[in-house]
């Protein structure tokens, strides 16, 4: 490793603020990088020594999170959101433009050490893309002009704080409001209603409500809470899952920006029912800009005795909330990976069982709930379980917020009672020529127009809350390739089928993309899908090929158009491999090339 200057005067206060606790390693590294721009071997060694942990632990964390850097990446670190919706909105052109203006190669720092430009997974700004992150601050609605302005600011070395504030504005774009987004909010109303029921009474209301988790799996919230309450433990924890990494999903961002008080109350009520006294919000690094306003609101809550000791004057009802940041890892949305990350480790999913409700954060009983689920808890408290169960469908009570992006006139949030038809959402959002809708992010299913009559509900089309809409000029192959790169990049690397399988899928799709794929490759994709989806360690692997499989089976022309008609063609390009020989020989005439028959059979 190279020698590097360590700044103890920078690191020591950060480490002290986190009590020198290795459990806060990730938070310490995030702050150290904010101060120093990257985490040199010297910095890592210093932190390892101060926390009294092996330097391998520090290296493991630094190398796990994509937004932590162990090589210099410049004063300005620009990352373009690489989600398919950003790409459809023109992000590749914008990135190419910026690279040209800054005379840079993607991922390579400028010679003067000023700036680097790269790609990152979906930043959750799909309704106002294309978007980028600069030093973890989101800039939305990019245009060529805006890119030019940004390049000028970077060249002038203008501090981010002096950049025009409107660059960083993030809109709510609430297009249809219902129970949650449309109702008035009075601070403490839900908490007082819960207190009036008592812990057991409130738990009974939760059971009556039939509220199910909004994070994807649809687990009944009351069952989770009861299991946590009844599990033996010294301390209990309520964790709010605000990792929102599923491409195309941005509802939790809006809830935390404009409805955060309900999230806090939901968490406190969960604490009241389960006996937990500590709450943790795991906020994805891409939403770092929400941290300061959230902290301010938490302070207000404490001042108004809605958090802290003796909430609402009830002796013994103690509950407080702390915020932890992520640093670029989709898998950390998986609840056990999230808990590992909260403990300052790489976000590798744990072996289950035991489940978090019995053995979670610091091996204590822990409830992990999605942001939206926790908001719904306040509705149950205020209106009662029966009233709550009165909307929606039999198995899916209440309303659901859907993040709509892609080829629609009015991207944004749409809240409906469960049971709404896909076609209704599309009509309301102004999707007039949809050929496909990707539901629930890259891990979800891809619906054909024949399926637009289906309903959003756990019993029909379940969703964690996103619609990515594809219009009739779109090629779904591009989407499949984008998802494949996403999963290859986001696999935590723990288990063989997911680590190697997602990379193999990406290579095969690239081969097809380059015009060399045959029926053989198509069959290989199918075979890999069967293996990865049944044999992986966690939900990332088991869902990584869902959309691909849907596109392959329900949209046959997407692949047929691209497959060559021969049975097989080698991926190895002999002619390209001879390029170096041509260079040495100084010739590039037709005879120096292999017969162009390799391209034959490729459909134009």
């Amino acid at each position: 490793m190279t020698e590097a200057i360590v700044e103890p005067e920078v690191l020591e206060p950060i480490i002290a603020r986190y009590n020198g606790d290795p459990g806060n390693l990730l938070q310490i590294l995030i702050e150290a990088q904010n101060a120093l721009d990257w985490l040199s071997p010297g910095t890592q060694g210093f932190i390892a020594k101060s926390l009294d942990i092996p330097v391998t632990h520090v290296a493991a964390v630094v190398q796990f999170y994509t937004h932590l850097y162990d090589t210099p990446r410049g004063k300005y670190r620009v990352l373009f959101s690489h989600n398919i919706t950003d790409r459809m909105a023109g992000s590749p052109t914008l990135m190419a433009h910026m690279l040209k203006r800054l005379k840079l190669k993607r991922g390579v720092v400028s010679d003067d050490g000023l700036v680097s430009v790269g790609k990152t997974s979906c930043t959750g700004m799909c309704d106002q893309g294309p978007a980028l992150l600069v030093n973890n601050r989101a800039i939305t609605r990019l245009t060529l002009r805006r890119i030019d302005e940004i390049c000028d600011l970077i060249r002038a070395r203008a501090p981010l704080a002096n950049w025009p504030a409107h660059y960083f504005r993030v809109e709510d774009n609430i297009e249809r409001a219902d129970m949650l987004l449309g109702s008035a909010y009075a601070p403490g109303e839900a908490l007082r209603a819960a207190i009036a029921c008592g812990p057991t009474g409130m738990m009974a209301e939760m059971k009556r409500s039939n509220l199910r988790g909004r994070g994807g799996a649809g687990f009944t919230t009351a069952v989770k809470w009861e299991a946590c309450r009844d599990a033996p433990g010294d301390e209990r924890y309520i964790v709010c899952n605000a990792d929102e990494g599923e491409p195309g999903t941005f509802k939790d961002r809006v809830l935390l920006q404009s409805f955060a008080e309900r999230v806090f109350e939901g968490m406190a009520i969960a604490g009241y029912c389960t006996g937990a006294r500590k709450g943790l919000i795991y906020l994805r690094g891409e939403y770092t800009y929400l941290r300061a306003p959230l902290e301010a609101k938490l302070s207000d809550f404490r001042r108004n005795r809605l958090l802290g000791m003796g909430i609402c004057g009830v002796p013994g009802f103690d509950f407080d909330i702390a915020i932890h940041l992520g640093a670029g890892a989709y898998v950390c949305g998986e609840e056990t990976a999230l808990i590992e990350s909260l403990e300052g480790k790489p976000g590798r999913p744990r072996i289950r069982p035991p489940f978090p409700v019995t053995c979670g954060y610091k091996n204590q009983p822990t409830v992990v709930n999605n942001v939206e689920t926790l908001c719904k808890v306040t509705e149950v408290a205020i209106h009662g379980g029966l009233a709550y169960a009165g909307t929606g469908t039999r198995q899916s009570a209440g309303t659901k917020i859907i993040s709509v992006s892609g080829d629609v006139e009015r991207p944004g949030l749409y809240e409906y009672p469960f049971g709404v038809r896909v076609s209704q959402v599309l009509e309301d959002a102004g999707a007039y020529d949809a050929i496909a809708v990707q539901i629930s992010g890259a891990a979800g299913q891809c619906l054909t127009p024949q399926e637009f009559g289906r309903r959003i509900a756990f019993e029909d089309v379940p969703t964690s809350g996103s619609f990515m809409v594809f219009g009739n000029n779109r090629d779904l192959f591009e989407a499949a390739l984008n998802y494949a790169h996403f999963f290859e990049h986001e696999s935590c690397g723990f288990c063989t089928p997911c680590r190697v399988g997602t990379a193999l899928i990406a290579r095969i799709l690239e081969k097809i993309h380059s015009g060399h794929g045959a029926r053989y490759e198509f069959n290989e994709l199918n075979r890999l899908h069967q293996l990865i989806s049944t044999s992986s360690h966690c939900g990332l692997g088991t869902t990584a090929t869902n959309a691909l499989h849907d596109i392959m089976t329900k949209f046959p022309t997407v692949f047929d158009r691209r497959l060559i008609r021969r049975d097989f063609e080698p991926g190895f390009d002999l002619d390209a491999a001879l390029a170096r020989a041509r260079e040495v020989a100084g010739r590039d005439d037709a005879n120096a090339h292999l017969d162009a028959h390799l391209g034959e059979g490729v459909d134009a």
Partner: protein, 239 residues
């Protein structure tokens, strides 16, 4: 459910287990082989290689982490599962860089032995040919990451038995790789010693002793006379 407590069915055979044992532990103890690479009952289960895939009451799971329970119906030696295992082995072979004919571990290597036993005739997939670092800095041992399968047995042995924490895994996706706890990142500058338990556990040829090249000739090695599934030590050694 069966009436006999503390037994389950594995491929139609009744297997006895002690409460708390995993399916893999109980099966190996009963002399019933289930393929495995990252498991070694001496250390905390890991569940990463997925070679020990079984179907339990119609759901896939890893035998090395699933607790044995009375009455479970476990399938292991089925064409479907062996096909899946073969593909997983092929994945491991194309992910790393394995040159068996010149490898000192050949014949003693579990990866190779399982590949023979499961009739993996070729690598099938296109090789990734990833550049991987070789570390020859230690006087007694090589660390050749080309052949590492990320099973973390050395990580666990060093942590749990040697109390040293010499090894760790860093990086995600295909970039996950072994890192060494020393100021330089080199094995030679770490506290690793040839007497460590971690020096003995590598199932492949990634952690190899120096200066003992081919002391035992090819042909007379652990898995040379019988397939791994019928090698008594492989079945019993670790229990």
């Amino acid at each position: 459910m069966t009436d006999i407590p503390n037994t389950f069915n594995l491929d139609g055979e009744r297997i006895h287990f002690e409460p708390g044992e995993t399916i893999l532990q109980a099966a190996l103890k009963a002399g019933h082989f289930i393929p495995h690479l990252c498991a070694n009952p001496e250390f905390t289960p890991h569940g990463s290689c997925k070679l020990c895939l079984v179907v339990v009451n119609n759901r896939s799971g890893s035998a090395c982490v699933m607790k044995a329970l009375p009455g479970l119906e476990v399938q292991s030696d089925t064409p479907d599962l062996n096909h899946r295992r073969r593909t997983l082995l092929q994945m491991l072979f194309v992910e790393g860089n394995h040159f068996c004919p010149g490898c000192e571990k050949s014949g003693n290597c579990k990866l190779q032995a399982l590949a023979y036993d499961l009739e993996m005739f070729n690598d099938h997939f296109t090789h990734f040919f990833q550049p991987r670092e070789v570390d020859a800095s230690h006087p007694d041992f090589f660390l050749d990451r080309n052949r590492c399968i990320n099973c973390e047995l050395c990580v666990r042995a060093s942590r749990e038995v040697d109390g040293k924490n010499v090894f760790g895994i860093a990086g995600r996706s295909l970039e996950a790789h072994i890192v060494v706890n020393s100021p330089t990142g080199l094995l030679g500058d770490s506290t690793f010693a040839k007497t460590d338990r971690a020096a003995e556990v590598c199932p492949v040829g990634a952690l190899l002793p120096k200066e003992v090249g081919f002391r035992k000739p090819i042909g007379a090695r652990l898995y040379d006379s019988a397939p791994i599934s019928q090698t008594p030590t492989a079945v019993k050694e670790e229990v």
